[in-house]
């Protein structure tokens, strides 16, 4: 059983919802990423989504855009992201790490070469925002060969046919985008989310995580009532940016700890 699958199986047995924080690798500094990952794991992160910064983050709102720009300005790259995860794995073999990003840095390395490097680094899943299922058959097969999970997005606008297509390719979990917009937007409609997630759960054999627009313990708790996992990104990235340089990891951990407590209450 893969690391992601065991985590979700254990959570299900304990009737708990997975908490998945997202951070951009290399922001606010190259050195902050590794200690922050450890702090998040300690504070109750069940999976860590690590954003690979890209020059043209089309699906992201201002918070993640700025965060990617800062990370690139500091010199973050795909190779450094992989090296950071390899370092993380030296002391943490339990917390799954999912890379989230855009296609071109993967294309530049070559899909096959990237998949090998990601597997060797100890990465568990990959979510490529601009590889929708119709363009992802080959990539999903490559990931599968090395035991990595292709994670797909589903949206309020996804048709039953598309959900069925994703159901065939998806491993690990699927990521339901809870609103029409970019990451960090503010117009989350929880009852619409509940209806759509119920339909997706019925059709997809893997757990369903919900993200985009979740910003604190209260919204996380509402969404947790219907989802298998909540993904929380922009609010955490902003918290880290606002923290003094030597307190980034501690503040991130403390912030996530509060969300964890709200989820488990």
């Amino acid at each position: 059983m893969s690391r992601i699958d065991s985590v979700f199986a254990a959570l299900k047995a304990n009737k708990k919802t997975a908490l998945i924080p997202f951070i951009t690798a290399g922001d606010p500094s190259l050195e902050s990423t590794l200690p922050t990952m450890h702090a998040l794991a300690k504070a109750g992160a069940d999976v860590i989504e690590l954003g690979v910064p890209f020059s043209d983050p089309m699906a992201d709102g201002p918070v993640i855009q700025r965060s990617s720009e800062r990370a690139l300005a500091k010199g973050m790259s795909m190779r450094k992201v992989l090296a950071t995860v390899a370092e993380f794995r030296k002391t943490n073999s339990a917390t799954p790490v999912v890379l989230m990003g855009y296609a071109n840095p993967i294309e530049a390395m070559g899909q096959a070469k990237f998949v090998d490097a990601a597997a060797d680094a100890g990465i568990d899943g990959v979510l490529v925002v601009d590889y929708p299922p119709e363009e992802a058959d080959d990539f999903a097969a490559l990931l599968g060969r090395r035991g990595l999970a292709p994670i797909f997005l589903l949206a309020p606008t996804s048709t039953p046919e598309r959900i069925a297509h994703v159901a065939k390719l998806a491993r690990g979990y699927v990521y339901y985008v809870s609103l029409r917009g970019v990451t960090g937007a503010g117009n989350l409609d929880v009852s619409e989310v509940a209806n759509n997630v119920a339909a997706i759960k019925a059709a997809v054999p893997v757990p369903v995580g919900v993200g985009f627009g979740i910003r604190d313990g209260a919204t996380a708790r509402k969404v947790a009532a219907v989802a298998d996992a909540v993904v929380i990104g922009s609010a955490l990235v902003q918290t880290m940016f606002d923290a003094p340089a030597d307190e980034v990891a501690a503040r991130a951990g403390a912030w996530l700890g509060k969300v964890r407590a709200a989820l488990d209450a």
């Binding site: 089309m58 700025r66 720009e69 993967i106 390395m109 029409r180 970019v182």
Partner: protein
């Protein structure tokens, strides 16, 4: 004539093109694909499109024999397809009308667009005004500074111009921001992409709307020159004017298709926009194509004296035509384009856009190597009125304006340590 039937149903031109977007945009693209498939061959739609092109744009645009210049060059005969004579001054309007007609039929009251130099923004604002649609144009804040006149033009036409502050603050970032708007407002908004890039069906649809350029040439060339040309030459940024004139000529195997990219300050300086000649395949803005990028797959910042060519990608069909060898792609520097610009003004009495000047510059290199009975057809894709500011600055001149503005400029120049002579108009 060989059969050429691309893209396939998924929008692929060989390995290029496709639909590389977030799930949140798929439904809007599916809707657009279905709508376009419904109207693509619909006689009523096509008749309305033809009528708009005739009465609002002023088509067909003439093909003109640049006799004086051809004689001076002493080689092949140069013919210019005069897209500069269209309403709004460039080929962009052809595509905007087609897409705005689809927006009306989809019942979407709001259109958005990205723009670099502002030509596509002006064309979109123009047709939005005519159809009574709300219009929002995204434009990099750097481009807004460089193209103040076009910004004002869009505002006069009732559009809202939104400055984009992310990334390099230019065309590629404006495109990102327009995509973000579309994801958020997909229910009431139609995204009018200005070039043959983006996710399927845009590269195909924009090509189809622009192919009126080449289709007219197929009739006009035998009339004016007695036969089809030996080569068709067009500038390539995203590549819409080039696809528009190339596409109908693809089956004409004796006609070379030559795309001219911007070599900027010189390929060797790295400050250029020559995606096809210098880039490698990758994925950006919804399609797989040649991209200017670094080793890590980050998109490069590009340069060209003409804002319309200043883009790190290129339409996927050009990538395919390059790979199969049906089209050739070359590049022309800023200086070469400016030289051709001035020659075109002085020899033919036509002020060309700086973008089109790249195509003209290549023709002036190629023509003298060919016999006098050979024929080159150049797409003069736009007029140069918008470039007065850039050209005068490059010549070390500024225009006179009212005293307050003049004062501001003097102090700005003093701050930069430049005090160039002013010319009174």
């Amino acid at each position: 004539m060989k059969l050429y039937d691309l893209p396939d149903a998924q929008g692929h031109f060989g390995q290029y093109g496709g639909t590389f977007v977030a799930e949140t945009l798929i439904q809007a693209l599916d809707q657009l694909k279905a709508q376009y498939a419904r109207y693509q061959h619909d006689p009523e739609f096509l008749a309305e499109f033809a009528s708009e092109l005739k009465y609002f744009v002023g088509r067909p645009s003439p093909v003109y024999h640049a006799k004086r210049w051809s004689e001076m060059l002493g080689g092949a005969q140069i013919y210019l397809k005069r897209e500069d004579l269209n309403h709004t001054g460039a080929h962009k309007i052809n595509n905007c009308i087609g897409q705005a007609m689809l927006a009306k039929r989809l019942g979407k009251p709001r259109v958005i667009a990205e723009t670099g130099a502002g030509q596509h923004g002006v064309a979109t604002a123009t047709i939005a005004a005519r159809y009574g649609l709300e219009c929002v144009v995204y434009m990099g804040s750097e481009d807004i500074k460089r193209q103040a006149q076009n910004v004002y033009r869009m505002k006069l036409l009732g559009a809202t111009v939104v400055p984009v502050e992310s990334g390099s603050k230019t065309l590629k970032d404006a495109l990102n921001e327009a995509l973000r708007d579309w994801v958020t407002n997909v229910d009431n908004t139609f995204y009018i992409i200005g070039t043959v890039a983006g996710p399927h069906p845009y590269p195909m649809m924009v090509r189809d709307f622009q192919s009126v350029i080449g289709t007219e040439c197929l009739t006009q060339m035998p009339e004016i020159a007695g036969r089809q040309p030996d080569a068709v030459i067009a500038c390539v940024g995203g590549g819409s004017n080039a696809m528009g004139i190339f596409y109908p000529y693809i089956p004409y195997e004796n006609t070379r298709l030559i795309g001219v990219e911007a070599a900027g300050e010189g390929i060797e300086t790295g400050k250029h926009s020559a995606s096809l000649t210098q880039g490698v395949p990758g994925v950006l803005h919804g399609n797989r194509t040649y991209l200017l990028q670094d080793e890590d797959g980050q998109i490069a910042e590009t340069h060209s004296v003409s804002a319309g060519l200043d883009y790190p990608g290129v339409g996927p069909e050009h990538a395919y035509l390059k790979d199969i060898g049906r089209a050739e792609y070359v590049s022309i520097t800023d200086d070469e384009a400016l030289k051709a610009f001035h020659e075109c003004c002085r020899i033919e009495g036509i002020i060309p856009a700086l973008e089109s000047s790249h195509a003209i510059a290549y023709a002036t290199k190629l023509a003298p190597t060919m016999d006098k009975d050979k024929i080159l057809l150049i797409n003069l894709s736009g007029r140069g009125d918008k470039d007065m500011h850039t050209v005068s600055q490059r010549s070390g001149l500024s225009f006179y304006c009212h005293p307050e503005c003049e004062q501001g400029r003097m102090s700005a120049q003093a701050a930069q340590g430049t005090t160039k002579p002013l010319v009174r108009q």
